[in-house]
Symmetry: C2
Subunit: 220 residues, 2 copies
DNA sequence: AAAAATTTTTAGATTTACCTAAAAATAAAA
DNA sequence: TTTTATTTTTAGGTAAATCTAAAAATTTTT
């Protein structure tokens, strides 16, 4: 069994490995709000426990067991987020910190029953896929909104940024999950994007457009 | 803010103080599955933080702040137990350990919304009263079943023992919360009690009878 | 009230997850 | 290919929560 801290390291390594091939000590330290020296210590410990493969100065990768553990924590995190939003009426920008605590509750039974209670949801309130109890989940086929061309349309199905500030901003613009959008124009000057959102015209910055994920309906 | 460990000490002291006037180091140690020396260390720390009053060799009492903190943890524990039983279909003998973890999740918002989601329950699945968000709860007027006389009747409204073995035993006998009972006879030989439970005759040992709490309908 | 038993505390260690500062390895630039 | 910069690791230390063994205080028994 792992400590909360160990679980958090595994989760962080898992998420970093989704973006970069080799996960670096400094990246982990930054993510975990700690110092590189502490990361090295912990990585050694995780390696001793067979949860990561580690070669000095070469970064880490999760072992099969380490990856399963990480996926299980991700599953719990996302299920709890669904619970908070669907059952307790939290907003999508309010759930992260609480789920960060709830994800460490150790009870297989609890999570299976929660999953059932929630109706076996496939995605969390931010559109991130929820692994099933065997750790399997569909590799989602998202496109960043920024990559769409003028005239393309699609449905908002996720975000790649979970900060409260960002999510509140989207909410205010009406850009929530499930909404249909169409690209009207891309401004040369600043790269901002003109979107058609159910008759309304909405302008979003390039920075915002980068973090909205679309399941495309193809070209117009 | 307190660590999980500190919270557990406060909760333990609170529960012990319900039974004995002055809470002793050894009693805390036994309850917490730790050694008296460790308890002394922790008590000093809690005293420094103003959560308990402590005089060497004289035991501890909770301060106002300490008590409020303890009651808040009890509230969270009991609300989570209701959630587990009412919403996730756990049995009353399966919820204690999970609630023991959930009670430490730190989010005022979460607990208030959970309370509302559950319909502001007044008691947990074992009949223990749930403090409201201001820490207030009705002092329940229970009588131990063992104290009833032949001919007395009442309703099972609580238990004073939460072990899975005990609760499973009650379940098997049909002695669950809300059930009406009447005392038919008390056996001279072993002090066991004959109960009338909706037409059926049930015999329970003295030991079991001690831990069943009744809200009495008075004499017959 | 002295002796014996019990309870509680102190002293000194251990483990976990951190830290800082300095050294070593690797990568990038001149 | 040296030099410089960056990244990572090592070495040595700290705070929290625990432990064992021994000393001190309190309570009970004789």
């Amino acid at each position: 069994m792992q400590s909360y801290t160990e679980e958090n390291y595994l989760k962080t390594i898992y998420h970093l490995a989704e973006k970069t091939t080799n996960v670096q000590t400094n990246a982990i330290a930054e993510q975990m709000q700690t110092k590189p020296a502490s990361v090295t210590d912990m990585i050694k410990k995780l390696a001793d426990k067979g949860l990561v493969d580690y070669i000095k100065y070469q970064g880490v990768t999760l072992t099969e067991i380490g990856k399963n553990t990480a996926v299980d924590i991700v599953r719990k995190h996302r299920l709890w987020e669904v619970f908070l939003v669907d059952k307790l009426n939290f907003k999508w920008d309010e759930v992260h910190d609480v789920a960060e605590e709830l994800e460490h509750i150790r009870s297989v039974e609890l999570i299976e029953r929660l999953d059932e209670f929630l109706g076996f949801p496939k995605a969390d309130p931010h559109g991130d896929p929820i692994p099933d109890k065997n750790g399997r989940f569909a590799k989602t086929q998202f496109i960043k909104l920024i990559e769409l061309k003028v005239g393309d349309s699609g449905t908002i199905t996720g975000v790649s940024q979970h900060s409260s500030a960002f999510l509140k901003h989207l909410e205010k613009l009406g850009l929530t999950l499930g909404k249909q959008i169409k690209i009207n124009d891309v401004t040369d000057f600043d790269g901002s994007v003109e979107i058609l959102l159910s008759d309304k015209q909405v302008n979003i910055s390039r920075e915002v457009a980068k973090h909205i994920l679309i399941s495309s309906n193809g070209k117009n």
